[in-house]
């Protein structure tokens, strides 16, 4: 077993984990943060995307042990003080989700995208989200949701 200490959504956790335990299983099964989903086993779908030290990472691609010392944000930690993140608002306003299964990963990837490029074109949004698969929306309203959030964030800088 490997001892790890990490921060998840601002809270400090110390655990003993199997060396092979994936970060996504640590988040879901050990910490009970089931908002992060598993949609594939080859790191294609992006449903497990979280922020590790501020950058989007597919949490099925790293071991919990590798996240030792990291600061992680999951979908559960995105809204601040009861206020939805502009991307959460955008997905709701623009009907950017249907079944909701890809949504947490999609939103977390979009957070990273807008950090890197606060004013992306439609093409840049589509390319930026290429690592996240949605089977319901055809991506049309996901693009609109990200555009909505970009506009909101430009109007009210954090």
């Amino acid at each position: 077993m490997v001892p790890i200490t990490l921060s998840v959504n601002g809270k400090q956790y110390t655990s003993e984990v199997e060396p092979r335990l994936l970060l996504v299983h640590y988040l879901r099964d050990t910490l009970g943060l089931t908002g992060t989903h598993v949609g594939c086993d080859t790191s294609q779908c992006g449903a497990c995307t979280v922020l590790v030290n501020g950058e989007s990472v597919k949490s099925c691609t790293i071991l919990a042990a590798q996240a030792d010392g990291a600061s992680i944000t999951t979908i559960e930690g995105l809204a601040q003080g009861g206020k939805l993140h502009p991307l959460q608002e955008g997905f709701w306003e623009m009907h950017g989700l249907q079944c909701g299964f890809c949504t947490p990963g999609m939103i977390m990837s979009a957070v990273d995208l807008l950090q890197r490029n606060p004013n992306p074109s439609e093409e840049e949004i589509r390319e930026g989200l290429e690592g996240n698969i949605c089977r319901c929306t055809g991506y049309h309203n996901i693009v609109r949701a990200v555009q909505y959030a970009a506009k909101q964030m430009a109007a009210e800088p954090a």
Binding site: R20, G39, T42, I125, E130, H140
Partner: protein
């Protein structure tokens, strides 16, 4: 007057939990003492099992139990049945765990139950199974000459089915001025709902069991698993479909995994969870389509369609699953008239077994396959006749004054205005200008193609009278209880199920309008057999048209009861009462009024009611539609082909749909976007590929191309509205039409782009390689 809810693009009620990661999907459920299941699956497509050695796995710490087909057989676990017994259907046994033979790669052979999923996976790797491989057949057009898979089905023929009039059709061809012909493949698809299938079975102390399951139809799961497979009485068997992450058909069916997990949980007296990996999903979720078809369409010199002849071999995979026999027959052959009054049609379908995972309903189910055949041939006919494809469609459409229209393949189309949808599409595209741009492009070596698909579907599954007359054993009505609480809040229980469709919003919109209450006061419950009355679930674009109608009828019943209670309270005649905007009042005397809230309370504090007035305010409806609904559309794809690489770029996609009245336009558009993209996916990228020896070559998301954001344009949507006459809401259903229409639109567009190269047909998926080869071989041949 309160804001009209029906017709409003209100934000979805269910979204706050999903956008905050607070949904509850099956794999999120964790019960005390829960064990985990992992299946040992066949690596062979066809083999005898000559021995299973579980000793090494059994000895691993944390392994609770290992079961094989011998164990399930000894316990009397029944065969997994099909629900649609076509005449002369050959039905082989479908064991939950293979006993002495495996018939497809991925078929479960044993199950490991362990304390931890990682341990269960380790133990599954340690089970040693001896196989004696047998010859394999995987392709539908080779099945009849392949090795026999089931002795019940000689030649691997599951059924031989036809519809229409063969002699009349042959005669029509004899009189044709032009005949268009094609040999085409409708490519096999993997549904790829983003949430992999999962189940949690939890036994109670005295024989009860609860099964949380990724299901589109929990009542059907309870009925089949309970009554037909595990002999579990319904009052002790609860099936809950919590938040479900997409289905597209794949979560309708009864799968071995969920049967075995339920059985094992009861046997061990311990809760067990199983969750599919994506690789297992690709191997074991029922696939879709997989047809090989020869079709011909006969035309007169003016382009009128005279006759249509279709011969299809449909792959059912290794076993006939729940809806499988109905998909390439009742849901396929009956749609062969398209939007056209074709006077003579004959459609013959042979359903075959192969050594592949079962094939069953996938978004559209039969209707995309039919639309593809019809709309490809209309385009090929336009080529033969030298006519514009839009014009050829126009001269053939069923005219508005011809409804109700009896087709030659059993259905009666109730309503429609097909030319209006085409005209809207042409206007929006500025069609003449687009054709001019296409011509200019060709001069400059740019190959733009414009492809049409004027599709029809029969949905709102399924009117019992219609499907009964076609030979089905059951119709599919839907149930709704609308329960008003003493304080005027409302709970609706529906037998329909949302796995992305947004029932919690749209059904609440129906109630809010009908009762005149704020939408916030209405809660929709679905997915739990312990809550809702029996219902048939969600597929076949049926939720709004059948489930929503059941809600609307219950609301109507409540309006009547509210009037009776108010009349009693006001000492008025019930005939003089009206109900509007949440108020029951005496006609002509609006001051004599009882609000909805007052009536709700008094319904529960009832005293001194007349003998014929019951207390309480609740209504139950089982709504059986009198006909299918018939959404229609014209979709147009505009593509550009790079002649150097064969790459196809979708420049524009326009969907003009008529799905009847819209309850929530935002949700309707979302359904269209998603369906269209699945259809574009089928046309350009997706395809489940089996090797000749039955190995699935598209086993992961690295090999099977689910569309990604960067491949796609924005989807342009527009509507015409012809209300459905058959249901109180005038809605038709919208879930499938995108996937039904898009493949033909896109392929027609690519073929149109390649006209200068003499290409007349390409099979899906139309990959850049196929396009390149087509350009190259035609160029060489010229």
């Amino acid at each position: 007057m309160a804001t009209q809810m029906i017709g409003s693009s209100i934000k979805r009620v269910e979204d706050p939990r999903f956008i905050q990661g607070k949904g509850t999907y099956t794999d999120d459920i964790k019960l005390p003492g829960m064990a985990h299941a992992v299946f040992v699956r066949s690596p062979y497509a066809h083999a005898k099992i000559t021995g299973i050695d579980t000793s090494a796995a059994q000895a691993m710490p944390g392994v609770v139990a290992i079961y094989t087909g011998q164990d399930t057989q000894a316990d009397g676990v029944g065969s997994n049945p099909t629900g649609w017994l076509l005449p002369n259907l050959k039905v082989p046994p479908h064991p939950a765990l293979a006993v002495d033979r495996v018939n497809y790669v991925g078929e479960p052979v044993a199950v490991i139950i362990a304390d931890d999923p990682y341990i269960a996976h380790d133990a599954a790797d340690a089970v040693h199974v001896d196989y004696d491989p047998l010859p394999v057949v995987a392709a539908p057009d080779k099945a009849m000459d392949g090795p026999t898979i089931h002795e019940e089905a000689p030649g691997n023929v599951a059924f031989d089915w036809s519809i229409g009039d063969q002699a009349q059709t042959d005669a029509a061809f004899a009189n044709a001025a032009k005949v268009a012909k094609v040999h085409l493949i409708n490519n096999r698809l993997i549904p790829n709902a983003m949430e992999p299938r999962s189940c949690v079975a939890s036994p109670g102390p005295t024989g009860e069991v609860t099964l949380w399951l990724t299901s589109q139809n929990p009542h059907i799961h309870r009925l089949i698993i309970g009554a037909f497979v595990l002999n579990l009485p319904e009052q002790k068997f609860r099936v809950v479909a919590p938040d479900v992450g997409g289905g597209f058909g794949s979560k309708i069916f009864i799968y071995s995994d969920e049967i075995v997990v339920t059985w094992a949980a009861m046997k061990l007296g311990r809760a067990i969870k199983w969750t599919s990996t994506r690789r297992e999903a690709n191997m074991t979720d029922a696939h879709g389509r997989d047809h090989v078809t020869d079709a011909e369409m006969a035309f007169d010199a003016n382009g009128k369609i005279l006759g249509f002849r279709v011969n299809t071999i449909a792959n059912l995979g290794a076993y006939p699953t729940l809806f499988a026999p109905a998909v390439p027959t009742y849901l396929y052959g009956t749609l062969m008239s398209g939007q056209y009054p074709i006077p003579a049609i004959y459609c013959h379908v042979t359903g075959v077994y192969t050594n592949t995972v079962p094939v069953d309903a996938y978004r559209g189910a039969g209707r995309p396959e039919a639309t593809f055949v019809v709309e490809r041939l209309v385009d090929l006919g336009a080529g033969e006749l030298g006519m514009d494809p839009a014009e050829l469609r126009r001269v053939n459409f069923v005219r508005p004054d011809q409804f109700p229209f009896q087709t030659q393949v059993a259905l009666v189309y109730d309503s429609g205005n097909y030319e209006a949808a085409l005209n809207r599409a042409l206007e929006r595209l500025n069609y003449a200008d687009l054709r001019r741009q296409q011509e200019e492009g060709r001069q400059q070596g740019r190959y733009i193609g414009i492809g049409f698909s004027s599709a029809i579907e029969a949905c709102g599954l399924a009117p019992s009278s219609v499907v009964g007359s076609l030979g089905a054993q059951a119709g599919q009505w839907e149930s709704a209880i609308v329960r008003v609480h003493p304080t005027g809040k409302v709970t609706v229980q529906t037998g329909s199920h949302s796995h992305g469709q947004g029932h919690e919003t749209t059904f609440a919109q129906i109630v809010a309008d009908g009762l005149g209450v704020p939408i916030e006061d209405v809660a929709i419950q679905h997915g739990d057999t312990a809550q809702s009355p029996f219902g048939w679930g969600t597929y076949g674009s049926r939720s709004a048209a059948v489930g929503g109608s059941a809600v609307a009828v219950s609301v109507k019943k409540l309006q009547d009861k509210i009037k009776r209670i108010a009349a009693h309270l006001l000492e008025a005649n019930v005939e003089d009462m009206e109900y509007a905007d949440g108020k029951a009042f005496v006609r002509g005397a609006p001051g004599r009024v009882k609000t909805f809230g007052e009536v709700a309370l008094m319904a529960h504090l009832a005293h001194q009611y007349p003998p014929d007035l019951e207390p309480g305010l609740e209504a139950t409806t089982f709504f059986d539609p009198t006909n299918f609904t018939f959404p229609f559309c014209t979709h147009v794809a505009v593509v550009e082909v790079d002649a150097n690489t064969g790459a196809v770029d979708v420049l524009r996609y326009l969907a003009v749909d008529d799905v009847g009245n819209l309850i929530n336009p935002l949700i309707v558009d979302g359904q269209i976007h998603g369906g269209v993209v699945q259809g574009i996916g089928q046309a350009l990228w997706e395809g489940a590929v089996y090797s000749e020896d039955g190995q699935l070559l598209t086993g992961t998301m690295m090999d099977y191309a689910v569309p990604k954001a960067a491949y796609l344009p924005m989807i342009e949507t527009d509507q015409t509205v012809t209300p459905a006459p058959q249901n109180p809401l005038g809605v038709k259903g919208v879930g499938e039409i995108g996937a039904i229409a898009a493949p033909a639109a896109v392929v027609n567009a690519v073929v149109d782009a390649l006209k200068p190269f003499g290409v007349t047909h390409l099979d899906m998926p139309v990959t850049s390689e196929k396009v390149y080869q087509a350009i190259h071989s035609q160029a060489q041949g010229a």
